[in-house]
């Protein structure tokens, strides 16, 4: 199918499989995410949304079923191959920002490029451009501890963009931020979406999902409970309010 970027086909994730206390985190999930979509995965804690994110982000492989990324089945790849793929195709944004504390903003943004083997000059140049994009050009040599939460999350966005991935995968991106800085972060994500990036956010906050995403998957007990689609193009939070 054209435009299909990520698809999950009858995916199961079972922890401690075969044991008495086995946990069925995902039960027979199937979904398709198209190129350029803004998708939200919604659900309360324990619904399996974190597991879904790990699988979509190729951090983990399913117990059963197949996952296709850009047409390639990644369900049975080795950890190193997965690392290579997610480094190139997926940019992660975490609730806790997850910057490397010993590295400056610029070095944090350069890190994913190191793992893809791009040369040093290229890395410096691109890191500078990306930090300018997230309006942190005057903070490039600051350590994460010297930055506010919102600034750290913007560094994380710049880092997620380092290898120009197809997908930005954001796990509760505003969860640790106050409303205003959270909105600014969502502004950036929407801007990226408008530039053609596929955005996937994982959240328990229905407002965040409804206001931004074109498609929302509601998870409950490891299954897709419902799918909601939003009509219209107006996705920028600030303007809607």
């Amino acid at each position: 199918m054209m435009g299909e970027l990520i698809s999950l086909k009858n995916v199961w994730k079972i922890y401690r499989e075969g044991e008495e206390n086995a946990v069925f985190a995902l039960r027979d999930i199937s979904l398709i995410i198209k190129k350029g979509e803004f998708v939200a995965i919604m659900g309360p804690s324990g619904s399996g949304k974190s597991t879904a994110m790990n699988l979509i982000g190729s951090l983990d492989v399913p117990s059963k079923g197949d996952i296709f990324l850009d047409g390639h089945n990644i369900s049975h790849l080795s950890e190193s191959d997965l690392a290579q793929i997610r480094g190139k195709k997926i940019g992660f944004i975490f609730q806790q920002f997850n910057l490397i504390p010993n590295l400056t903003a610029r070095e944090n943004v350069m890190l994913p490029m190191i793992f893809q083997g791009s040369d040093e000059f290229e890395r410096e140049k691109r890191a500078g451009e990306l930090l300018k994009l997230v309006e942190l050009e005057d903070r490039v040599d600051h350590l994460p501890s010297e930055l506010s939460g919102g600034q750290q999350q913007r560094v994380a966005i710049a880092r997620a963009l380092a290898n120009d991935p197809e997908v930005i995968l954001a796990d509760e991106p505003t969860g640790n931020l106050d409303t205003k800085t959270g909105e600014k972060v969502m502004d950036f994500l929407n801007k990226l979406h408008n530039q053609g990036k596929t955005i996937i956010i994982v959240t328990h906050d229905p407002n965040l999902a409804i206001e931004n995403a074109s498609t929302t998957y509601w998870l409950k007990d490891g299954k897709i409970d419902k799918i909601t689609k939003k009509k219209g193009k107006n996705k920028i939070v600030g303007n809607e309010k």
Partner: protein, 405 residues
Amino acid sequence: MKQYLVLAVKNLRKRGLRSWLTLLGICIGIAAVVSLISLGDALKDTVNSQFNIASVEVISVQAGGITGFGPPGSGVSKHLTKQDSDAIERLSSVEFAIPRNLKTVSVEYNDKVEFVMVSSVPNDDKIDDMYTLLDIGVSSGRLMERGEKNLIMIGDSLADGEKNSFERDIGVGNKLKLNGEEFRIVGVLEKKGSFIIDGTILINSEGLKEISDIGDNVDLIVVRAKDKDSIDDAKRDIEDLLRERRDVKIGEEDFEVSTPEAQLESINEILTGIQVFIVIIASISIFIGAVGIANTMTTSVIERRKEIGIMKAIGARNKNIFYQFFVEAGLLGLIGGLIGAALGIGIGYLGTTGLNIFLGTSTKPNINFILIISSLLGSFIVGSISGVVPAMNAAKQNPVEAIRG
């Protein structure tokens, strides 16, 4: 590689005191090795000069063999004689032979008494050979000449009021009572760095006869071979001659013919023993250091689990993580080695300077580029080997679990 180093340096800078303390083992080990090697030659030179082993063509002959710690000739029933010495001198492989006596006498000055080992100098033309052989000169006064029965020369430390028991500096012109008889000092010997020479009194052999009971006995015959190559021939000839003169069989000799090489050998054996001992200590501390690095790296892997998870999420492969920790461990070792090497060089310099001041020698510490490079390389390798297991643990962390911290 460069980025691993940069990251490793950044991570190490954040380390707490605990990590640095684990380097102590490597530090001590490398310091021990470096100081040992840099001191080694100085130590040998010093010991050799202590025992006054200067000339390699010199053979010493004494009765009874080396039986204890007493001076040569003491406690021997069948002494060597002047005739033995003359017979040795007639051997074709021998250039000359000097009979010597060593005797402990009481020395009185300034109403204080000290017991000193006096050493005879020949009362004939051999006196010049003797001076050449011992390689001595005077720092004040002059050398004794043949026939000067009532004169003596004293060693450097005996002249020094702070080192002798007379509580007063003594020098040329002063008169000492040796076993009750008065002798005038005609010269003070140059400092040799050997306690044997620096603490002695040289006395005319006839003069010594008059104040002691040595008679015709000779304690020690000092022989100079024709040249370096004939030293073994000379030794064998002397042994043959003395066996005949003293009527003993091979293997039952009641005399000892020793070459400086043999003396050096026994000293070097002791020094080698010391070196082996220090190398063992160094190995143990380097091993402890290696365990320390492995330990601190393991802790570091646990502490930085989340960081490892993040790195993996943004595309780090297992080998990237492995190299990161591996290089960091190696760098830890290298830093330990650097501090240790600096310490070792310091000890080397201090030690040699100390020996030089104490003994008046002028040896230099043996510090070379290869020694430094190889000890640094060694400590880097020890560090990285210690890092292998922790780095493997780091590399195989599951990203999903690790990222939760």
